[in-house]
Symmetry: C2
Subunit: 210 residues, 2 copies
Amino acid sequence: MAKTPKIPDPTIERLALYSRPLEALIESGSPLILSEKLAELCGVSPAQVRKDLAYFGEFGVRGVGYDVRTLLKEIKHILGTDRQWALCIVGMGNLGSALVENENFRKRGYIFSAAFDSDPEKIGKEMPCGLTIEPVNRIKELVRDFHIRIGVITTPPLVAQQVANLLIDAGIRAILNFAPIRVRTTDRCTVENVDFSVKLENLAYHLGTL
Amino acid sequence: MAKTPKIPDPTIERLALYSRPLEALIESGSPLILSEKLAELCGVSPAQVRKDLAYFGEFGVRGVGYDVRTLLKEIKHILGTDRQWALCIVGMGNLGSALVENENFRKRGYIFSAAFDSDPEKIGKEMPCGLTIEPVNRIKELVRDFHIRIGVITTPPLVAQQVANLLIDAGIRAILNFAPIRVRTTDRCTVENVDFSVKLENLAYHLGTL
DNA sequence: GCCTGTGAATCCATTCACAGCT
DNA sequence: AGCTGTGAATGGATTCACAGGC
């Protein structure tokens, strides 16, 4: 990947957004798309779309538009979605179990290669997707053996930080955290937090008192 | 709720964030917290904390700090987390089922009052939480009867927009959408999107090619 | 003519630095 | 003295508006 001078973080978040309708467009034929149309499909402004894409190169043709197929390929390359990524997940409750079965992940190249829990009841159980639940003390070993670079945390909040530490210690470089606390990391390791109730509270606020 | 002139959206997102450690602090005793400490727990700057809170009033005491208990109460009031909200959810696959069982929601006052699916196999089944899965054609009726104001979408992407339309038509004022497409709404209805794979692609990008 | 690519202008959020209370 | 509350300054991201190329 070339030395990209300074890309706004929101931009790379939107690139992922753009790829969704592009995938659909490939199915449904039309080979060309305009920034205006793509913008509408994603709920952003056309100028935004053009600027975001321009950070990475000249993917369009002036006076014409963007070729859907090559645009998608470029975006996937930028994001790294044109390769496969091995994931592990810690905390096999309802949410964890739902995630490993989720087709959306696999379709985009994210493969769950190991699942962990601390509950002796769960350890050793095989899941519908074929994975067997492993004890947390095997994290380091399996992360190494399967070349896992991304970890997913779906534990209760009280143990999330400890689990994050275990993952970092095992060499994990990126964490997707579903527990409703901020986990702390070293700068070797990136974290993205997904907190459902934060989103709900957002909605509740906008609903006001009515 | 007072006429709040112009609150940045990120601010209200962070209010929800602040409430998490505050809840924990109430358990563990200490009645007072400084903006600096709260900031550290949430991974933001102290000035940010003070500014965010100041949008809504003077909750702290100069030279002293914030009283944990009253601060949490104020935040909850602002966000509307001091009341209960009835939710409905459409799409009872793995993810939907995991969400309705999630304790986190209930603890914050979000109560699932109805669950819908279009699969005849699933309709009529009772879930561990006690809800029975209803057919989508009862959305309007049940939304009305249970005074539901927030809808959650956990369907496959292809039907998400139709479902959103049904919800809006039924009078829903806010939607939490887990399907990986942008759903369009009227301005009577707010949407928050939660797209896991966008987050993963973010992480993959930051990992680069290594 | 038409739509992309892009510097300039605008808008918005965060940080700074200090005034104001206790 | 200490820490919050807040206008002013800074830093970034979005939008504008037009130049560039088919």
